[in-house]
């Protein structure tokens, strides 16, 4: 597809008049296109270039055609804000699907290949009841009590974090975060590697292991807390989330895990939606202060906005109509063996939020970048007026062909601040609990259940993003997905599995 993509892009550099030529240039559009032959070639050509008449000029056409292709497009000289606004939706959903899927994949693969994580022997200190009683009632209250204890710990930690944040104790918060990610990256990944090596029966000496661990951990710390390629940061965040999920699966008693999943999604609902909810306060405070939420806590998929960010820096201005979601803070790993993941939510960008760095860039670039609608430009100007005195980082607009994290190009004084607030974000906590659900489902060895949970969670995520687009306010990402996941887990386990097994055994296909 990629070479077709480039050809397409090449074709779009010309005008839409070249329909005939373009049809020649992309001969191997596949079956769907062939189905589309019903309308002969015309709609086929227009398919990718429909946006030409939609907005204006060749630039938008190129944007429209390159979008379906994975290959990074040569950037149009003037990114069309209207285009960007429309792009919210499908693309963002996929941008979240991929990392969520990867995270689940890591967890499921680990669970099904490494025995260690599905064996129950040690439990977290937060879960004093171990469900060893044979009676269902006892198990139920054990699970409930455990999950409530865990929840109160999480709530406490959240409140603590918010108090610290309110009091501007950034040093303490950062120290806390660095400590916990340090522990995850070194201790838990050491455990992970040890168990993986043991499971596959691979001998390894301590020197190599230490060397590898040291490099892995240090790169991780740098990438997460300071700067580095976006892809690498995303990979590390996914891995951290997967590790945390594995820890939960391993160290929580059987039914407590399910109870925790249910309780935490309710907590999520409360914490984000109630006026005095702690996560809401956190997010609002961050917005007031025009600060990004700690980079260690959220996964951001800002690749697509980097182009705009580099060239204009001011996509922020157009954010009102482009609801992006920001997951605040899935905290992983407190100083105890347990992480207290928290702050799973999505929220649209603060429409008036002029983040320091963006505004600086807007100030630098807004002037010379032509082709924005006047309203946007006015807003950018206003932002410049507001924030013109902050750190001097104005840089001429760059038109890179690489889609990259702008930070790597600019020596950013505040890494992550550039794009942490743009694009779609999801708290790491969401990753963790999605993966806990799917991993737990897979630990019983029935792949149908795993698959059902996976699809249910993705659909839940879809619905959440849909609601986000409609409501344009902070939304928790857990409740819908986890509810679907739980329903499908128990339904599949109890009802569907026997039926599916019978069908498979008799080779009856429905």
């Amino acid at each position: 597809m990629s070479d077709t993509g480039s050809e397409t892009e090449e074709a779009t550099e010309h005008t839409a008049l070249m329909d005939g030529h373009i049809a020649e240039a992309r001969p191997d559009r596949v079956i769907a296109e062939r189905i589309a032959k019903k309308r002969k070639t015309k709609p086929d050509n227009q398919r990718s270039y429909g946006s030409v008449d939609g907005v204006s000029g060749a630039a938008s056409g190129s944007g429209g055609s390159t979008a379906p292709n994975a290959a990074p497009p040569p950037p149009p000289p003037e990114p069309q804000l209207e285009e960007l606004e429309l792009k919210y939706g499908a693309r963002h959903v996929i941008k979240l699907f991929v990392p969520v899927t990867l995270c689940m994949l890591v967890v499921v693969a680990t669970i099904s290949s490494i025995n260690f994580y599905s064996v129950k022997d040690v439990y977290l200190a937060y879960t004093p009841f171990h469900e060893e009683s044979p009676y269902a009632v006892t198990k139920v209250w054990n699970a409930l009590a455990n999950s409530l204890i865990l929840l109160s710990v999480i709530a406490l930690m959240t409140v603590l974090l918010i108090v610290l944040y309110k009091k501007r104790c950034y040093k303490i918060i950062h120290g806390w975060l660095i400590l916990s990610s340090l522990m995850l990256l070194f201790l838990f990944s050491y455990l992970y590697i040890e168990e993986a090596l043991r499971a596959y029966n691979i001998p390894m000496d301590y020197i190599t292991l230490l060397f590898g661990m040291w490099n892995f951990g240090v790169v991780g710390m740098i990438v997460i807390h300071w700067k580095g390629p976006l892809r690498l940061q995303q990979a590390y965040l996914i891995f951290i989330a997967a590790l945390m999920a594995l820890v939960f699966i391993k160290y929580l008693p059987e039914w407590t895990t399910w109870a925790v999943l249910a309780v935490i999604s309710i907590w999520d609902l409360i914490a984000v939606l109630t006026p005095k909810g702690p996560l809401r306060i956190l997010v609002e405070t961050a917005q007031e202060r025009n600060e990004p939420i700690f980079p260690a806590l959220i996964y951001s998929s800002t690749v697509m906005y980097c182009l705009a960010a580099t060239t204009t820096g001011g996509t922020e201005g157009g954010a009102e109509t482009r609801p992006s979601s920001t997951g605040a803070a899935g905290r992983a790993g407190a100083a105890g063996a347990a992480g207290e993941p928290r702050a799973r939510e999505l929220r649209p960008l603060n429409p008036h939020g002029s983040r320091e760095n963006e505004t600086n860039e807007a100030a630098g670039a807004g002037g010379d970048a032509a082709g924005f609608d006047s309203a946007w430009r006015a807003r950018a100007q206003q932002q410049r007026r507001l924030r013109v005195d902050t750190v001097e980082r104005a840089e001429p607009p760059r038109y890179t062909t690489r889609i990259d994290r702008p930070n790597t190009a600019h020596a950013a004084p505040q890494p992550g601040a550039d794009d942490e607030e743009k694009g779609v974000k999801l708290g790491l906590g969401d990753f963790i609990f999605y993966s806990v659900l799917v991993g737990k489902a897979s630990s019983y060895g029935d792949w149908n259940t795993t698959l059902a949970c996976f699809v249910a969670i993705l659909i839940g995520l879809c619905l959440t993003l849909l609601l986000l687009a409609i409501l344009k306010k902070a939304l928790p990402a857990l409740p819908i997905s986890i509810t679907f996941g739980l329903i499908f887990y128990f339904a599949t386990r109890c009802v569907v599995k026997p039926f599916a097994d019978a069908l498979a055994a008799e080779q009856v296909f429905i």
Binding site: A36, G89, V508
Partner: protein, 240 residues
Amino acid sequence: MTLAEFFSCSLLAFGAPLVMFAFTVANDPVRIIIMIAAAFGWLLSFLLSSLVWYAVVPLRSYLAFGMVFAIIFQEIFRYGMYVLLRKTEAGLKEISENHNIGSNKLEMAYVSGLGFGTMSGAFALINVLADSVGPGTLGLHTGTEYFFVTSAAMTLCMILLNTFWSVIFFSGFDDKNYVKVGWVIVSHFFVSGLSLLNSKELYAATILPSYIVLAITAYIAFKTAGGSARSLMQSISSRS
């Protein structure tokens, strides 16, 4: 050996759908979403049919009973997907960069059919595949050694059939041509009914007719989508 069996069976069953997914669906976010939604629709239909099967305890050992309900629910959900897609067409256009996504109505039918089929195929085969890795295998003592390969072949047949069925079904409702809808339902019953014979190990009697039905359905779907012999030749020859 078991590993080879695992890979060959999984590639037999999911190779073609995977390629179809990679070439036609994977590069368009909206199509991926439609596909997942269709998969979810299939999941719901299967859940409902399992509930019926589970609830009627005396008939639980007769899979034919569960099968009939499963087919009915699947077709209902296929219709549900049709209604859903037709209702959300405008919205889907809004959120996709590809503003012509709905210009060919059968495009969505194809994608949702693929999602439907993939999910049904996955549910039918994934546990069988997981067992096929070993350490044991079938056919040494009891059972037949063809179990895995026939399961995989039937799964492929069902996945492709579901894709084509959706195309025919959607166009049938679009054009109010209920013969097509009838064909979908009848052939679905026919193929599923045939697969009841699998438990008697009459594989030739099930797989051959199933693939004949598949070929007929593919032809109808191809015609429905507006294809002709000439366009087929064109698409193949201009590829080089």
